[in-house]
Amino acid sequence: MSSLTTIPIHYYLVFCSVLFCIGVLGVLIKRNALLILMSIELMINSINLLLAAFSAYTNDPAGQIFVFFIMVVAAAEVAIGLAIVVLIYRTTHSIDINVLNKLKW
């Protein structure tokens, strides 16, 4: 606890922003569906970290409770996401998202 409070809050802000941007870039650049899912997880976790940091900083436990909820929801989301990826692989024998361009014009 003491080490958390000794590190100034803006360190967390910068770190989380960087982490979030990496996630965004991953989503944008990667063509592999699995890696995109992982990038999304990265974004969620950066947000979680920020919530926890502010929770400790303001001495308000509500933020940490939020983190638990988000983790649960993220787990469920990943489960569905992975199921979709599995189905995509079964139909197209690939997990490259650029193959999925039938819905156009």
Binding site: L28, I97, N98, L103, K104, W105
Partner: protein
Amino acid sequence: MNLIIILIPLFPLLGFLISGLGYRTVPRKVIAVLSPGMVLFSFILSVILFITIQQSATALTCTLFSWIRIGPLDIPFSFLADPLSCLMLLVVTGVGFVIHVYSVGYMKEDAGFNRFFSYMNLFVFSMLLLVMGANYPVMFIGWEGVGLCSYLLIGFWFKNHDYNNAAKKAFIMNRIGDLGFLMGMFLIYTTFSTLNYQDVFSQARGMSFGNPAVVAITLLLFVGAVGKSAQIPLYTWLPDAMAGPTPVSALIHAATMVTAGVYMVARSNILYVLSPATMAIMGITGLATALFAASIAIFQNDIKKILAYSTISQLGYMFVGLSVGAFTGAMFHLTTHAFFKALLFLGAGSVIHALRGEQDIRKMGGLKKAMPKTYWTFLVATIAIAGIPPFSGFFSKDEILARTFEFQPAIWALAVAGSLMTAFYMFRLLYLTFFSEFRGTESQKHHLHESPAVMTIPLIILALLAAFGGFINLPGLFGGDSGLSRFLAPVFADAGKVMEHEAPLSHGTEWMLMGITLAGVLAMVAWAWFRFVKKRHGLLPDEAPRPFVVKLVANKFYIDELYRAIIEKPLLRLSEILHEYVERRFIDRIVNGLGSMVVWTGNTVRYIQTGNVGFYMFIMILGIILILFFNILI
């Protein structure tokens, strides 16, 4: 008493609802008793009301409910029972009942029997609202209601295209008048801040002679009267309105509805006496109409058209009477006219019935023997309208003529000329229809018969009224007591104070005027007999060559054609131009342009949807970044 006042219009409304809602289910026999019965109830109650009013000599106001209440505007739905409305009530319900009974016989074989009676009852209801309303808006409901019924009944045989056009013509012509009435009401409200008769009139009493606001109000109201009472220039609908069944012509287009304008002016008498300009215009209009319509009637050959022009002419007389301040005279003539003109129309209906729809008097003749009852009653009505004593028309017309002489002898001379024409064309009609020998086809001759009792009894009742109706207002000259004048005196009392009175005519002058008129009328009767019975003139077909003036008059001065040329054609052309240039080339292009723009944009923009998920995400994130960026900026 209030209950009686409310019940009077309620009975015909009930009759309308029963025969209207149940026109498929209620049997004819029930309607044939119910519809006239409802009007009879109203008539009986009107008589009771009349007696009460006559004895108490007061006006009763009966408020049903507060109808419109917005800020300072408060219009109660209320009825007024005073001598004037009582007189109208008796005329409307009395003549209305007789005509209803007649219709039972006349419409017996018509498929639309129930529909006919529902309209007739609705008409009586509207007419009662018109005469009983205690303020202008209630009168206006009735005013519009009778217009609607007139439309429905003119176009009663709606499968005939011409009849429908006649109905529409009547409706549109009336609409012009109604606009004047409506604007007159608005002006009354802005001037007096109320629309109740009693409040308006009591305020008007304090106003100066020739007040511009009052002049404007009366002029606008008079426009309404011109439309409803078929005066120049809006009279052309009435001859066409003869397309309706004959009892309709008798009830609506002779006895009651067309006299609504006269009633309205008489009702607003205090306003009219305060505006000399309106009175002058009304007098000129009335006189011109009386002469103009009478001259047209001389050369018409359709039995109902002659009567229609005669009605227009007689209404002109009533307006002349009103314009010289002879309000009682006008109301008296309205009453007697209701009797003898209804009788003439019903007699004509009886003739048309016997001839299976023939209306051309050149193909009639000699009906005297075949239809004695119709002949005798028709003769009574003809004598009454021609103004031969002691029949009713003589007294009422004489009263108007005497007052015009007091006012201005020149007007009297013109009015007498009109009444000579009236005598001439009415006796022409009588001679051509009932005298000489029958000129129709053999099968018609075989079919000739007197109408059934259900039709002749109303004729006889009306004939009695037409013969003796004049005695309700027998002038002092004949030892009478001017009963109607005394009865109506409270209504016209204030107007009488405003009108400057010339010295009443001496009895000698009155006898002389009467003598001149009567001698002229009798000469006309004799001349008509000479021409149409002795010499057998007036039987030429329409195509026969005739002098220019005769042709002009016989074609009704080409007024219909004139209206068509100066109003209908330009309007049609304007509509075509607007349709082509504004509608199709302007508005349509905007609307179509909007549509094609949307299609074009969609066609162009849809290529953004590439199907590439990465691209979508990129756009999405770009969007979010932009929103955040602008959020910071602002």
